[in-house]
Amino acid sequence: MPTTLQQRTIHTHVLSNQMVLVGEPTDSVQSAAFTLLIPSGSSTDSVDRQGLSSMLCDMVLRGAGARDSRALINDLEVLGVERGESVGVSQTSFSAASLADNLAEALTIYADIVRRPQLSASQLEFARQVCVQELRSVEDEPAQKLMNFLRQRSYPEPWGRSSCGTQQGISECALSDIQQQWSAHYRPNGTILGVAGNFEWSQLVEHVESLFGDWPTSSEQSSLQYKEEDVPVHHSHDSNQCHLGIGFPTVPYRHEDYLQAWAAVGVLSSGMSSRLFTEVRERRGLCYTVTASLQTQLDRARVFCYAGTSSERAQETLDVTYAELIRLGEGIEQQELDRLQAQIKSGLIMQQESTSARSGSLARDWYHLGRTRTLDEVGRLVDGLSSDSINQFLANNPPGNFTFATLGPQPLEQPIEV
C-alpha cells in the first residue's frame, strides 16, 4: 500500500499585536523545532549601512535579558538546542530544535533575544569583526561570489543585495544604527513563529501569549532606499575553473502559476535524470556541478542557474546550458513530470520526519500566502499538475530576459537572445 501523508492539523493564532503563531503538533517524534521570522532583512538596511541587519542579528545573540553573551549561548547548549540564524533580503530567521521537553524554555530565551537584547557597546567591535571576516571569506569561495553578483545583476535594488553587506557599510554601523534598526524592525507586526513537533497546542498558545503578548506594535516603515550600482558581467578571478551563472525572471510563491513554474525548473534540475545534469554533465562531461533553482521573494522571483568548469570548456558549458533554457520554453514531456511528481511526493513525506524543516515551511507559507498549507494539500496540488498545464505556462512565459554573470580567468561570449 502506498505511503500516504499523515493527517496533521495546522493551528494558527494571531496575537493582538499582529504577531502570528502557526503550529503543527505531532506525537510521532520526540523533538520540537521552531522558526522565528523577524522583518529585518538586507533590503531594510539603509544604503550607506549595508550589512546592518546582519550585524544586528549577531548583536542580539551577544546578551539578552538577564543573560550576558556567554550565559545566553551556554544556557541554550545545556538545553541541547541546535540553533541557526540567517539574514535574507526581507527577514532575519532564527531557528532552533531540541527535545520536545525543552521547547518552552528555549522559546523563553528567544523571546529575550528578540525583545530584550542588551546591544552592549562592549560587544559592538566583536560583532563588526565577525561580519568583516564573513565578507572576506566569501572572496575565497568563487561559486558563492559569482552567485552574489548574479543576484545583484538580476534584481532591482535593494532586492539583489547580499546579506553580508559591504565593507563600507559594516565599517559605518554605529551602536545607534544597530539600536535604531532593532527598534524599527524587531516588532510583532510582521513577525511569524512556526512550531512543529511534539507539543500541546493550547499550552503553546498560552506560553507564546505570555512571552510575546505585551510586545508593542510599531509602525512599519517603508523607506526602502535604492542605489543602483553597475555590476559588470565578468569578474576576473585567478582560478582553475570558470564559474558561470544565468538568471531569468519567473513568478513568485504566491502567484497562482507558481507550481507550474517550480515544476518546470524541476524538469531542468531535479534528480540525476533532469535535463541540465543529463546534457551538461552526463552526455558531455563538461562539469561536476550544474544546477538551476527557483528563488522566490514576496513579490518577485528568479530562476538561477550555475555551472563551474575549467576555462577552456566554459564557453561550451555556457552555450549548452543556455540552449537547455531555450528548449525548456518548448515544453516538457509527460514522463518528465511523472518522475518529478514521484520525487516531490517522497520529499513531502520525508519532510514529515524533520521538525526543523516543517517549522520553516509553516512560517514561510504564512509569510508568502498569509495562510498555511498542510502537506496533504500540497500533495493534492502536485497531483493536479499536468504536462499540459506546465506547457501552457511555458508557452506564455518562456525563459527569457536573461541575466548573465561569469567569474574566472577570462570573460565569455554571451549568447544572443533571439
Partner: protein, 418 residues
C-alpha cells in the same frame, strides 16, 4: 525498533534496524574500500569507481540508472572516504524492492570504455573545483606531512595526473579485487521489510562469486615523533591570490575500535566545537577568525583530531599563538564539570535529533557495522556519552596530546612569523 542481520553463503551480510512506524526507508551498500586500499599508481580509483558504478550494468544504461532512481522518487547518492565507499538511497517503503534491485544491480557495473572517458572529464573538473576552494587541496598535503607514506595519507580524489593517466583495465582489476560479497554489505533502516530484503538480496547477489579480500590496515601514527621539540614546525604554502589565511592541524586521536572515542569527541566539543567551546569564545566570538573548529574523526587503527581556522592574514600569527595556548592549557589543567555537562547535553541532543530520520540511522547502522561489526542503538550511544568522566577526558588528552600535531598554513602570508 528491532535489529536484524543475515549472512548469505557467499559472505555477503545484510543488517537492518527495522522501525515499522517510520515513514521512509534508508538503504545502502557499504563497501570496505577507499583511498587507503589504493597504490600511488591508481590514486583516486576508489572515488572514480564510485562515479562509474552509476554508469550502467549489462541490463541498464547510465540513463536508465538515473531515470529509474528518479522514477521512484529516491534521494540517492554515494561517497568515498579513506576507507569506505557507500551507495545509498532514501525512499518510500513501497519502493524497497525497486530500490534494492537498482542498488544491487549497479554493484556489478559494466565499466564501459566510453563512459569511463566521459566520466574522467567530470572527475578532473571535480578535482579542479576543490583546488579553487579553501583549503585549496591542502587537506591532502596535511595528511601527507602527518602520515608520510602511510596509505591513510593517500588522496581520496587523486590528482589530475593520476586520474588523467588511469586506464579502464586498472579500474576493472581494482573492482574485481575489492567488490567481493565478503567485502561489502547491505544496510537498511526505517520501515524495512526484512524478510523481503533478505529474499531479494539473496536472489540478486547470492550468485556473486565469493573471493577473499586482503586488507592491510596498518596502524597510522604521526611522523612527528614524541621527541620532536615543541613547538612543532609550521609548513607554509604561499597563495598570494587568497584573501584569508587558513591554518590546518592534524594530530593523532583514538581510533574507531577504541572505547575512548566518546571521550575524544566530548573533548573536541569542549575545546573546539563551532559554538560554545573554548576556541569559540577566544577566537570566533570576538571575530578574530571567520571560523575555527576542532573535530574528531575515527578510522580503523587510526584516529584524527582535525583543527581548522580561517582568518584575516594580519591576525593569523596571533591566532595561532592563542590556539596553541588553548591546547597547552587544556593539556595542563583539563576541563571543568560544567563544561563536560554542557558538551554532553549538546552531543546527546544531536544524536537524538539526528536519529529521527531513517536516512541518518542508515549511516549510523552501516558505520557501526563497517567499523566494529556491531549494532548500537541510540540508547547505547547516549549511555556511552553519559558514562564519560573528566578523568577519562584527561587520560585521553595525556595519551593523545593535541600539541603533538602537524601544522600547515596557506594564504597570502609567506610565513607565519613564528
Amino acid at each position: 525498533m528491532k535489529f536484524n542481520s543475515h549472512q548469505l553463503d557467499n559472505g555477503l551480510e545484510i543488517v537492518a534496524e527495522c522501525n515499522p512506524s517510520a515513514y521512509s526507508i534508508g538503504l545502502g551498500v557499504f563497501v570496505r574500500t577507499g583511498s587507503r586500499d589504493e597504490t600511488a599508481e591508481v590514486s583516486g580509483v576508489s572515488h572514480f569507481l564510485e562515479h562509474m558504478v552509476f554508469k550502467g550494468t549489462p541490463r541498464r544504461s547510465a540513463d536508465d540508472v538515473n531515470r529509474e532512481f528518479d522514477e521512484i522518487g529516491a534521494h540517492y547518492n554515494a561517497f568515498t572516504s579513506e576507507e569506505s565507499t557507500v551507495y545509498y538511497a532514501a525512499a518510500l517503503p513501497e519502493y524497497q524492492k525497486a530500490c534494492i534491485d537498482l542498488l544491487t544491480d549497479i554493484m556489478r557495473p559494466s565499466l564501459r570504455e566510453e563512459d569511463f572517458s566521459m566520466e574522467k572529464k567530470v572527475i578532473l573538473e571535480e578535482i579542479q573545483m576543490y583546488a579553487d576552494q579553501p583549503p585549496f587541496g591542502m587537506d591532502d598535503r596535511l595528511k601527507e606531512l602527518h602520515y608520510g607514506d602511510h596509505p591513510l595519507a593517500y588522496s581520496v580524489l587523486g590528482t589530475l595526473q593520476s586520474v588523467g593517466d588511469l586506464e579502464v583495465e586498472k579500474m576493472h582489476h581494482y573492482f574485481q579485487s575489492r567488490y567481493s560479497p565478503s567485502n561489502l554489505f547491505v544496510a537498511a533502516a526505517g520501515c524495512v521489510d526484512f524478510d523481503d530484503l533478505v529474499a531479494q538480496v539473496s536472489s540478486c547477489c547470492g550468485h556473486w562469486e565469493a573471493k577473499s579480500v586482503d586488507r592491510l590496515l596498518a596502524p597510522a601514527r604521526s611522523k612527528v615523533s614524541q621527541a620532536t621539540a615543541f613547538p612543532t614546525p609550521v609548513h607554509c604554502v604561499h597563495r598570494p591570490t587568497a584573501t584569508q589565511q587558513y591554518l590546518l592541524q592534524l594530530a593523532d586521536a583514538p581510533s574507531s575500535e577504541d572505547d575512548n572515542r566518546y571521550a575524544a569527541k566530548l573533548f573536541a566539543t569542549m575545546l573546539g566545537d563551532d559554538s560554545g567551546s573554548r576556541i569559540y569564545w577566544e577566537l570566533v566570538d570576538p571575530g578574530r577568525v571567520e571560523s575555527a573548529s576542532l573535530g574528531h574523526y575515527e578510522y580503523l587503527a587510526a584516529g584524527m583530531y582535525y583543527t581548522w581556522v580561517g582568518c584575516d592574514p594580519e591576525m593569523a600569527a596571533d591566532n595561532f599563538a592563542q590556539l596553541t595556548q588553548l591546547q597547552q592549557q587544556a593539556e595542563a589543567t583539563g576541563f571543568t564539570q560544567e563544561e563536560l555537562i554542557q558538551a554532553k547535553n549538546k552531543v546527546k541532543a544531536r544524536v537524538v535529533l539526528g536519529s529521527e530520520r531513517p536516512r541518518n540511522r542508515l549511516f549510523n547502522v552501516g558505520g557501526n557495522w563497517m567499523q566494529r561489526h556491531e549494532y548500537r542503538t541510540v540508547r547505547d550511544d547516549l549511555a556511552a556519552i553519559d558514562a564519560v568522566s573528566l578523568d577519562d577526558i584527561h587520560a585521553v588528552l595525556a595519551q593523545y596530546p593535541l600539541t603533538n600535531c602537524t601544522t600547515l598554513t596557506i594564504g597570502p602570508l609567506e610565513d607565519l612569523g613564528t
